[in-house]
């Protein structure tokens, strides 16, 4: 029986009068491939921000690796093993691709630059970005930026990787490239939460899926059962 790596219990988050998340609870086992879906504005990124620490939830608990992390700042959570990519890529644009990976390498894993570079190059090779190592991050194409987001997250040696719409706006073969990367990472033992709108990707990738709507979980189950669920269909297509 796999250990529960992440436990989110009754997490709520408000912005002024707007309830972004209401009593959200979920559990993720180590090594799991977990899908998070929901229409725009349903609170997916807010939930991710609460888990990774960029936002503080007002109520509820977040337990990671048996440790309560709700009060920790984001940079400490990353050192515990949580990594995330950003929906709109946020590279360190004045740095090269390699240097981008050296940041988590130095600040999360505490490697010296010489070791960090070797490890970073391996990661870049695995993503097909090795030839762009010295290129400025600001010069990359969209799909390369998405890969950089994932590569940078990988450089932090995470136990949990949250991929926030890494495939949005990509062409078919590009989606497959990124999906393969995520499968490979999971095969290396990394637990992955995937947020995506591209249904076929979520269905192929996830072992379990949760659907959010208006800040609440409306359905949880296998990809097959989620697709058939009436509430989920309503949330996406309207009543």
């Amino acid at each position: 029986m796999a250990e529960k790596l992440l436990q989110v219990s009754n997490v709520s988050k408000h912005f002024g009068g707007f309830a972004a998340l209401t009593e959200v609870s979920l559990e993720i086992a180590e090594g799991e491939r977990f899908g998070l879906i929901g229409p725009n504005g349903s609170g997916k990124t807010t939930l991710i921000n609460c888990i990774s620490g960029l936002l503080r939830n007002e109520s509820g608990k977040i337990v990671f690796n048996r440790k309560e992390i709700g009060g920790l700042p984001a940079y400490q959570r990353s050192r515990l093993g949580i990594a995330r990519s950003f929906q709109v890529p946020r590279p360190f644009h004045t740095m090269s691709v390699l240097e981008n990976l050296l940041v988590p390498s130095a600040y999360v894993v505490h490697l010296r630059d010489s070791e960090g570079e070797t490890r970073a190059m391996e990661i870049l090779k695995g993503m097909g970005l090795a030839d762009k190592a010295q290129a400025l991050a600001s010069q990359l194409s969209q799909v390369e930026l998405r890969k950089l987001e994932l590569a940078r997250a990988m450089a932090a040696k995470p136990r949990l990787l949250i991929s926030d719409e890494a495939m949005a706006g990509l062409a078919g073969n590009e989606v497959d490239e990124v999906l393969k990367i995520l499968f490979d990472l999971n095969a290396q033992g990394i637990t992955i939460i995937m947020i995506e709108h591209i249904m076929q990707a979520v269905m192929r990738f996830s072992q379990r899926v949760v659907c959010l709507d208006a800040g609440k979980i409306i359905c949880e189950g296998t990809p097959a059962s989620i697709v058939k669920n009436a509430d989920v269909q309503k949330a996406y297509l309207g009543a």
Binding site: F15, G16, H93, S138
Partner: protein, 291 residues
């Protein structure tokens, strides 16, 4: 320091009038910074330029308030141009907008201040009008007419801007662009043009605010610095994006400053705004009423 409840009441009374004046002066910034997120530290400097233009028009015989109103459309256009410029140079490029945008507006404020010194010298300038110099006697208290004028104009400004933002289509579009730009785009409205329009309004309002500044008292080129403190104090205390909050925050500042002025003297009063601002930033940066 002599304390009496009479003096306190007078200070509060004066403070209410002063507070409404501060609210009116800050409302332009509430739009440009509070709603549009433009780091417009040059807002007070533009306002003081408005004061000086009012002075010039008054020397041709205009009444100060009329001068302020006349200047509003001129400043509206200037605001539109300034925003356009800012947008093309910084916001569009996105990434380093923060540092460079701030440096840009700081540079503009500095240039305006120096230009005023070169044009008018460092001496104070003031205007004359029937209501400047005389007071309304209310029992034991004398309320200077010019404060009442500023109070009246302030209320009218705040009320009309609040109504505009909530009742008209453009007004609501402006509030929408602050909250959800992509949604606005989907509705077919052009966010850049709306922001441009809003910034123009904010700047136009500054012209009238500038007229009031010189009605209340003499102006000098460096005054924009103290007004940076006052306007940002009001906008931050109110909470970004809240128009009615601006009135409440203005009152808090006005009364605090008036009390300090009454009991501690004029040399300490200018620090009140900045002190209050620092306290708010330290304790409750989202302000009292904001989003």
């Amino acid at each position: 320091m002599i304390f009496s409840f009479d003096l306190l009441f007078e200070a509060v009374l004066f403070g209410v009038l002063l507070g409404c004046f501060y609210a009116a002066v800050s409302i332009g910034l509430s739009v440009s910074f509070g709603l549009l997120d433009v780091p417009n530290v040059a807002h007070p400097a533009v306002m003081i330029v408005g004061s000086y233009f009012t002075y010039v028009l008054c020397s041709y015989g205009f009444d100060p308030i009329v001068a302020g109103v006349v200047l509003m459309p001129v400043f509206f256009v200037l605001g539109v141009l300034l925003y356009r410029f800012y947008y093309e140079s910084f916001e569009k490029r996105g990434t380093e907008a923060g540092v460079r945008g701030l440096a840009f507006f700081f540079g503009i404020a500095f240039i305006l201040e120096i230009a005023l010194i070169l044009g008018f010298g460092v001496d104070q300038r003031s205007v004359q009008a029937e209501y400047i110099g005389s007071s309304w006697e209310l029992g034991e208290y004398r309320i200077p007419y010019r404060m009442l004028v500023a109070f009246g104009v302030a209320l009218v400004l705040t009320a009309s801007l609040t109504l505009y933002l909530s009742k008209t289509f453009t007004g609501r579009a402006i509030k929408a662009v602050a909250q959800d730009e992509p949604a606005l785009r989907l509705m077919g409205a052009n966010p850049v043009r709306i922001k441009q329009w809003a910034f123009g309004i904010a700047t136009g309002v500054s012209a009238l605010a500038g007229a009031m500044v010189i009605i209340i008292g003499p102006v000098e080129p460096a005054m924009d610095r103290i007004f940076i403190g006052r306007t940002f104090c009001v906008v931050v205390l109110a909470g970004l994006g809240s128009m009615t909050g601006t009135l409440g925050a203005g009152l808090i500042l006005g009364i605090s400053e008036s009390i300090v002025l009454m009991f501690f003297g004029a040399s300490w009063a200018p620090a009140v705004a900045f002190g209050l601002l620092l306290i708010v930033l330290g304790i409750r940066p989202q302000g009292l009423f904001g989003r």
